[in-house]
């Protein structure tokens, strides 16, 4: 299974490229402290230094902070928020979707109406409101992003569970006397994971974008350097100093693109019917 999985994944060139970019981002996040021992908030050089100047590779911002250092430390925040908020969203979404799909009937109706309630509110507005009500901190941002992004996962998991629960191997497990919990976790969940993993990988990208947007509006955690904050702070001087918003923007673009490519590659590799067809 593993060998085939990697072969199918590698057949999609874009996915491999995405994985490589993602590797660079992870490397930056992990070794941020080694690459730039100084805090990204400290003044490193003269303000308004253009890129490729002596003491700042990507230039400096209005307060003389090193843009490169900000990007490297921002990778940490982006990945942290992307991964944890997706994990929380998965927990909420898959649990609700699984229960709704497995039980069906009234339970399903109730849970799905609740889900639709969240789906009708525009994601970003809800996230802004949540972060504004609670104080902007990493934990609150993670929770806010998770709360706005679980409904699609719930619908997906529900669909998978509904399709699988009428399969004969699930009925066989019922007649073998297995409990509901065991059936959901051991019989159905492993068979429904592929599409859930794929959409979760895409959701990490959305979460990173959401976090950047929040920071751009000044609703980020004031204690951590993030890409969105950098763009937001530099927007007033964009005509004099393009590099201040350009490089963080490129960082966001590349990371989100990489995650999308990986997600697509996972989709090909985990969905054998598509994988065999090939794309090139």
């Amino acid at each position: 299974m593993n060998r085939d999985f990697w072969r199918a994944f590698a057949r999609n060139r874009g996915a491999v490229l995405g994985l490589a970019i993602l590797g660079v981002v992870v490397f930056c996040a992990v070794f941020a402290g080694v690459l730039y021992p100084q805090s990204p908030w400290d003044m490193a050089t003269v303000p308004f230094q253009p890129p490729l100047s002596q003491d700042a590779l990507l230039g400096s911002d209005t307060l003389g902070r090193d843009i490169a250092a900000g990007i490297v430390y921002g990778a940490r925040v982006s990945l942290l928020i992307g991964l944890t908020s997706t994990a929380v969203a998965l927990l909420i979404g898959v649990t609700l979707g699984a229960v709704a799909g497995y039980h069906g009937g009234r339970v399903d109706d109730a849970i799905m109406r609740f889900t639709e309630l969240f789906q009708t509110i525009p994601n970003f507005v809800l996230a802004v409101v949540l972060v504004a009500i609670f104080t902007p901190s990493i934990a609150n941002i993670v929770v806010a992003i998770a709360i706005v992004s679980w409904p699609p996962l719930a619908r997906l998991a529900r669909g998978e569970f509904m399709a699988l629960r009428s399969r004969e191997f699930v009925q066989a497990a019922v007649t073998a006397g297995q409990g509901t919990g065991t059936i959901i976790l051991r019989q159905i969940l492993p068979n429904s994971l592929s599409p859930i993993i794929v959409s979760a990988s895409l959701m990490v990208a959305t979460a990173i974008l959401l976090e950047s947007s929040l920071s751009f509006l000044g609703l980020g955690d004031p204690n951590v350097m993030s890409w969105g904050y950098m763009i937001g702070a530099a927007r007033t001087v964009i005509r004099q100093a393009w590099w201040m918003s350009f490089f963080p923007g490129v960082a966001i673009l590349l990371t989100v693109l990489a995650l999308n490519l990986v997600g697509e590659g996972l989709n090909d590799a985990l969905n054998p019917r598509l994988a065999r067809k090939g794309r090139a």
């Binding site: 109706d109 066989a172 007649t175 073998a176 068979n191």
Partner: protein, 577 residues
């Protein structure tokens, strides 16, 4: 395909068709169709030569994967290119090679001179077009006719295939029609341009037995009226006996025996044909009547089940799946529930095992009413009633190892994992699989082997009653025979009672002591198998018996007693080792 190796023990492929070339409509010569690399064999069809003559029904018989459909699809230009393509041979239609024709020429021939009908009439019809429009389309594409003439022709065709009220039916959408009616529409479409050759790819496999009978009669009638050549693909020797004039038997992409129906059916020469015919379920050997003693193990009284469709805000629709079902089964007895689709036979099985809750009546198991039990109270009963499911590909969790699948029941009832796995290995041996199978995953096994695994799983809890829901209907006939023999053997050895649900009376005749015939949610007749077959009481039972394909044909004497079919599946050898 040598013809001179008679003495070597392996008989040559047998072809004894009279060399009469005048009436040959389609002459397929050495057709070879290649599969993509990495498939289980290089060629789907290898050097197949067949002839379809005027006024003849050629039945192509074989098990799944034998290449019979591929042959038809190659002739019709329906191969999934570029993966699968014709690499050799010719298909001569009145002297011209169809395979070498340009696309436009082929298209003119298809639908016009060559027509095809498919297995699944629902997917073969466009759901968004009325049936009249669909038939008109092929007229539009091929014939010069004005609108009114086309309309009249459509009505005429619908009437010709025996559809009621063709004026009105022409405006219906496919979903309004039953499976049999849809197949009739397909046939009407195929006949629209008076083809010379009709290719029918398992056209009755998805239909109930009584509908199958009607469609077979229709095909035979139309063939005779229009003196067409028909190529009829099937896996069922009963169907062959019913309509064939010539039979071609295919195995692994090769045509191993061709000959007149009478000769092939009654004096088959090739060993593979003999194997296949020996495996056909037949009801000549009735077992001794089962003598009922003591209390019934399971007794249902007036069980009913109604499905309610609809949701929160919508007014629901109801669907009655069972009303007034009363049956009785004793320890050691095999009770066959026979009926057509929608008769409620599966619903009954699922109510007994607790997958569905009956709405009314009583299900007494060892004197205890199962209908009144709550989920929790039902749990101890689960041990005693187990089920074998229909679809061997859906009934095993693809992510679990075989050992774990078999052990899941005992583990759920508190047995130690190691002990349960050890028992799983014993059970695998009992059902004729190697113990090593326990460490493998379901996808590594064939359909028949998977069904053996399902049997082992059902036995793991030492049940008293096994419900087998169409356990062999998804299997090829030779594998079917092996699985049925295994079930029968195990049932006898362990003294189990079995509720055997099937749509096929021939299979019921082979394994059941008692037969209950169901129609529209009711048991219309219940009696010993012998009585049901020899002295049916209810008119519906008589209709069903009447509809069994090929009932006028008796399996040749020398093939009747052979119980074991060697080499039909590799499993036979594995088990013996």
């Amino acid at each position: 395909m040598g013809t001179g190796q008679t003495g070597s023990g392996v008989p040559p492929d047998v072809h004894d068709v009279p060399p009469d070339v005048h009436d040959v409509l389609l002459d397929v010569r050495d057709l070879t169709v290649a599969l993509p690399e990495g498939a289980e064999r290089p060629n789907a069809v290898e050097n197949v030569s067949l002839q379809i003559r005027k006024n003849e029904i050629l039945c192509v018989v074989g098990e799944s994967g034998s290449g019979k459909s591929m042959t038809a699809h190659a002739i019709m230009g329906l191969l999934p290119r570029p993966h699968v393509k014709v690499v050799g041979g010719q298909a001569l239609y009145r002297g011209r090679d169809i395979l070498a024709m340009r696309e436009a020429e082929q298209r003119a021939l298809r639908g016009g001179r060559l027509a095809m009908i498919f297995q699944e009439p629902m997917t073969a019809l466009n759901p968004l077009m009325t049936v009249g429009d669909q038939i008109e389309e092929s007229l539009k594409a091929h014939a010069v006719m004005d609108r009114a003439a086309r309309r009249a022709r459509v009505v005429e065709l619908l009437a010709a295939v025996g559809l009621p009220d063709p004026q009105h039916l022409r405006r219906s959408y496919p979903f309004r029609l039953s499976g049999g009616q849809r197949q009739r529409v397909m046939i009407a479409m195929a006949l629209a341009l008076e083809p010379d050759i009709l290719i029918a790819d398992e056209p009755t496999t998805a239909l109930d037995v009584t509908t199958q009978k009607q469609i077979l009669n229709l095909v035979a009638k139309i063939q005779a009226e229009r003196e067409m050549g028909v190529m009829f693909i099937t896996h069922d020797f009963g169907v062959v006996a019913e309509i064939a004039t010539t039979v071609a038997v295919m195995q692994h992409g090769r045509c191993v025996e061709v000959g007149p129906a009478e000769r092939v059916l009654n004096r088959p020469r090739h060993p593979y044909t003999r194997e296949l015919i020996a495996a056909v379920p037949h009801y000549i050997e009735h077992r001794d009547d089962f003598v009922r003693k003591g209390e019934a193990l399971l007794k249902t009284e007036k069980v009913s089940k109604v499905f309610r469709l609809g949701g929160f805000f919508r007014k629901g629709r109801t669907l009655v799946a069972g009303e007034d079902i009363s049956i009785e089964i004793h320890a050691g007895e095999t009770l066959g529930i026979v009926g057509e689709s929608g008769s409620g036979k599966s619903t009954l099985g699922r109510c007994i095992i607790g997958l569905l809750k009956a709405d009314g009546g009583r299900i007494l198991f060892q004197g205890r009413d199962l209908v009144t039990l709550s989920r929790r109270q039902f749990r101890p009963v689960r041990k005693d009633i187990q089920m074998i499911f229909q679809d061997p590909y859906a009934s095993l969790n693809p992510r679990h190892k075989i050992g774990d699948i078999i052990a899941q029941g005992p583990v759920a009832f508190g047995e130690g994992k190691a002990r349960a796995l050890e028992r799983a290995r014993e059970l695998l041996r009992l059902v004729g699989l190697p113990e090593a199978a326990a460490d493998r995953y379901p996808h590594e096994f064939s359909g028949g082997q998977r069904q053996r695994i399902s049997i082992a799983r059902a036995l793991a809890l030492d049940p008293k009653l096994i419900i087998a829901d169409e356990p062999v209907s998804a299997l090829d006939v030779s594998v079917q025979r092996q699985v049925l023999d295994l079930l029968d053997d195990i049932r006898r050895r362990l003294g189990l009672a079995m509720l055997f649900i099937t749509h096929d009376l021939r299979i019921a005749a082979q394994v059941c002591d008692t037969i209950a015939v169901m129609q529209k949610g009711r048991v219309v007749e219940m009696n010993t198998a012998r009585e049901v077959f020899q002295n049916p009481q209810h008119p519906y039972t008589r209709t069903l018996l009447e509809a069994i394909p090929g009932k006028g044909w008796e399996i040749p004497e020398d093939l009747r007693t052979r119980r074991v079919v060697p080499g039909a599946e590799s499993l036979g050898q594995e088990a013996g080792a």
